[in-house]
Amino acid sequence: MRNYILRRLLLLIFVLFGVTLITFILMHVVPGDPALIILDKLSSNTELLLKLRHKLGLDKPLIVQYWEFLKNLVRFNLGDSITLHASVRELIFERFPLTLKLALFSLTIALLIGIPSGVISAVKQYSTIDTFFTIFALFGVSIPVFWLELLLQILFALKLGFFNVSGYMSVKDLFLPSLALGLIYSASITRFTRSSILEVLHMDYVRTARAKGLSEKTVITRHVFRNALIPVVTLVGMQFGGLLTGAAITETVFDLPGLGKLLLDAQLNRDYPLIQGGIIFVAIIFGLSNLSVDILYAFLDPRIRYD
């Protein structure tokens, strides 16, 4: 197991290198120039523009820029953001805790809704409640998240006055965004859990368990549930990675200074160091989250070994 983890971590380094290369190429293929953004209405002043480009090091050949970036990277120096006037590392670590909290809360809500409704749907297949959960999941998958968020804002903040519309002053302000994301993410968890349990229910060992005379409850909790969880864990692992990086819309609607919004703005402003640093951070998070999922498999199903 230890060797396996080490091997995976080593692999991650190569993945990161690839990520930096692809990001760098993509970043510079897309038109746009951070110097123009900074100067905004003064951007027609050519002399000023050249001076600023020189200061930002944008006048150097791309290959030199990339080499310097890599040199700094191995020293764990991600450089300074061009538009936010702070170090990239500082910005990322300033924003990450909020995003982590949001992801954990959302996923908790998603699991609390998704797993039970998935199990019930499967066990009571084709019943009214199954139909209800199916329709619920359909909505969850197809509703745009910003629209659901707007509805929640109008209902819980404007009409009922329970929460603020947006902003982040205390943990309470995370409730509405977590609920919105939780509802959306629970939909696919419900569907995954349902189909996975249905699949397991038709396995021979389930029939054996029933034949042994075990109660239906014991069959479901002891034999079906644990085996059915593996695909669900895969999904949740991916969702978690996505939530840590891709909640930009939710963060915008609720004015949460999180990682997703930081990276989206970085992209819109062509803040090259921040884009690079952000993407590397995201790649590490994804890599680690995938690794954790793989390790979790071994615990869920002792037959899975990595040696």
Binding site: P31, G32, S44, N45, A86, L158, N164, F254, D255, L268
Partner: protein, 657 residues
């Protein structure tokens, strides 16, 4: 001496009251405004001080009509005239009064009232309104002395109240509070409230006012200006502001390794040619020899040649006076550890979320009435509207799509003001093709129905432009002929130019910004067979395409940094500043010459002449409109002035409890 508990408490309270640490104390003894006017006489009195009117009160149908603007300004109201729908308005404390010229219907806080005599514009250009109605609408006492024909208006002003926090919105976080880092309106607004400048502008317009400098004098050759500084200005850490800090601030602007040199901040001052500034920029000198500290509270600036707008430029918020000690202490991190001597200081900053500006109780002009104000970073307009409706914000700039509904719903609390802005269609003159033909450019102008776009899309917030300079700017020329919408003429011009069958033009636009206007232009030009291909891109690509001339036409705007026609000329039309290529050496020479003249009155004819040539002879650009600004306030917000620069000075604001 010993005190018992009761005595101690009362003693503390008295001390508290005397030193002003207990909040909510009404101040200002002069709470009454008494205005006296005599029918037919230009002599009037405001609080028994004599003033001269350019329009005396008149009597019509037995009703006394008084000059609208004069009364409003004497009362301290926010007075506005909207030439588009011919209305005049007051915002005074919690009253909002709108009168329409020639109409007997008035609107007070959103409700309609009938007048006996309609307001009218007299040949003097002044609007007069029935005094009785105005008095009643604002709740003032109006007395009439039939013997002396004198009208006395007595208005008891609300006392300015101390305390409370105002909640405002910004769409992004400035990221820094170092005034040299960029020239965005956002950073300007923050700096305006944190720092003091040598000179500043008035609350509602660009009138120059003393700030840290209590006075200034020019030498006879108009090259050296000497500022006398106040000796009671402190930074919020308690250190005194002296002439050395001023010198340090301006030398930092020209520091070749400093932030100002690449942000555009230095570019405001470089044309002024301060002696030695160039050497400092080129790294040849450590100091700027033209900036001399004479003593702790006297400093002089020497220019190579006279430069007209110099003092005005010093009032731009990016020239707030920095503390030498603080900047040296924090170096590159100064932007997150700002120190100023202005009415507020940064108390708390959660990047990307909110900024708390607290009152500087030792501010040299007296502490601000507010305990402070908060800027919430709210990117999305819809969220901002919801927040305002949920009472999480006190100030809302209504987005165009909801403008009508919101201004109607909160009619009593809407304030509007003009700006020094200029919106126009620019033509790319660097590329060969149909746009090289002036007739084609003119045809495009005639084909665009500006009034319709202003009514339907901008909700009437624009003032149709006749030229470059907006009304309110010195040099504004009301006598320009202007442009009309004339489709027939446009078609005729296209035919004459040989493009009857049209062609295709590329027009770049930013996603999510002013999209409706772009669509309207596209629609309008289709009628003269010009196919406008809209290229919708993000901000970064937009600026790149504009600056590299990769668009044929563009819808652009310019907001002034200071109230001088120079600020509309050199940045837009001087060689080296216009990426669309429209410039002429002889115009450059005229601009340079005008900037060297000190007397604005002499410079104005040069600028007006240039304006006429650029717009009416060369037709390099098609002027569209000058924008007005609107905000909706919570009902208890007072003195929130909209400045034409778009920068809010929170020093005057107070909350009615």
């Amino acid at each position: 001496m010993s005190f018992n508990a009761k005595e101690l408490v009362s003693l503390l309270l008295v001390i508290g009251l005397l030193t002003g640490i207990c909040g909510f104390i009404p101040v200002r003894a002069d709470q009454e405004a008494i205005i006296q006017l005599t029918v037919g006489s230009t002599k009037a009195y405001v609080n028994f001080k004599e003033v001269t009117l350019d329009q005396p009160p008149i009597i019509e149908n037995g009703r006394t009509l008084v000059p609208f603007r004069f009364i409003g300004e004497a009362l301290g109201a926010f007075v506005d005239w909207n030439p588009l729908d011919n209305t005049v308005s007051y915002v005074l404390e919690d009253k909002n009064i709108v009168l329409k010229i020639g109409s007997t219907t008035a609107i007070v806080n959103g409700k309609e009232y009938k007048l006996d005599v309609p307001p009218k514009i007299l040949p003097s250009g002044r609007t007069v309104v029935p005094v009785r109605f105005i008095g009643e609408a604002i709740g003032a006492k109006v007395e009439w002395n039939s013997k002396t024909k004198m009208v006395t208006i007595t208005y008891t002003k609300e006392a300015v109240q101390f305390g409370g926090w105002l909640r405002d919105r910004v769409a992004a976080d400035p990221g820094t509070f170092d005034p040299h880092v960029d020239t965005s309106l956002l950073l300007f607004s923050a700096c305006k409230n944190i720092y003091s400048n040598l000179v500043t502008t008035a609350a509602k317009d660009y009138t120059l006012m003393p700030d840290v400098a209590k006075s200034w004098t020019w030498s006879n050759d108009n090259k050296t200006v000497t500022f006398k500084l106040r000796d009671d200005v402190f930074f919020t850490d308690g250190t005194k502001l002296t002439a050395n800090d001023v010198k340090f601030t301006f030398e930092r602007v020209f520091d070749p390794n400093g932030p100002a040199i690449t942000s555009g901040v230095a570019d405001y001052l470089l044309p002024a040619k301060i002696v030695g500034a160039k050497d400092k920029v080129d790294g040849k000198a450590k100091e700027v020899s033209g900036i001399k500290v004479i003593d702790d509270y006297t400093i002089s600036f020497t220019l190579e040649e006279p430069y007209g707008p110099f003092i005005q430029i010093l009032a731009i918020p990016c020239f707030g006076i920095l503390s030498e000690k603080q900047v040296k202490k924090y170096g590159e991190d100064y932007g997150t550890h700002p120190l100023g001597s202005g009415p507020f200081y940064i108390k708390e900053w959660k990047r990307g979320s909110y900024i708390k500006f607290a009152a500087n109780t030792r501010y040299f002009k007296g502490r601000p009435p507010l305990d402070g104000f908060i800027w919430y970073v709210v990117e999305d307009d819809n969220t901002a509207v919801l927040k305002f409706e949920n009472n999480e914000l006190d100030v809302l700039a209504p987005p165009n799509s909801m403008y009508k509904d919101l201004t109607k719903k909160y009619a009593a609390n809407v304030i509007k003001a003009s700006t020094l802005s200029y919106y126009r269609i620019t033509f790319n003159m660097t590329k060969p093709g149909p746009l090289q033909d002036k007739r084609v450019r003119l045809a495009i102008g005639y084909a665009i129905d500006r009034q319709a776009i202003n009514d339907k899309i901008l909700q009437g917030q624009g003032i149709l432009a006749k030229g470059i300079f907006p009304p309110g700017l010195p040099g504004y020329n009301p006598n320009l002929p202007g442009f009309e919408y004339n489709l027939e003429k446009a078609k005729q011009l296209m035919k004459e130019a040989g493009y009857e069958n049209g062609f295709t033009l590329k027009m770049v636009m930013r996603a999510g910004r002013m999209e409706d206007e772009h669509l309207a232009f596209q629609e309008a030009l289709r009628k003269i067979n010009i196919n406008v291909e809209l290229v919708k891109v993000d901000r970064a690509t937009y600026w790149q395409m504009l600056s590299s001339g990769k668009t044929d036409i563009a819808y652009r705007n310019w907001w002034a940094d200071f109230a001088d026609p120079e600020n509309f000329m050199t940045p837009l039309f001087h060689t080296g500043n216009n990426s669309m290529g429209a410039c002429k050496p002889e115009y450059d020479a005229l601009m340079d010459k005008a900037a060297r003249m000190v007397d604005l009155k002499q410079r104005i004819p040069i600028y007006q002449d240039l304006e006429k040539k650029i717009i009416y002879e060369d037709f390099w650009e098609f002027p569209l409109w000058h924008m007005t600004q609107t905000v909706i306030l919570s009902p208890y917000v007072r003195n929130y002035y909209l400045h034409p620069s778009g920068i809010t000075n929170y020093y005057y604001v107070y909350l009615k409890h």
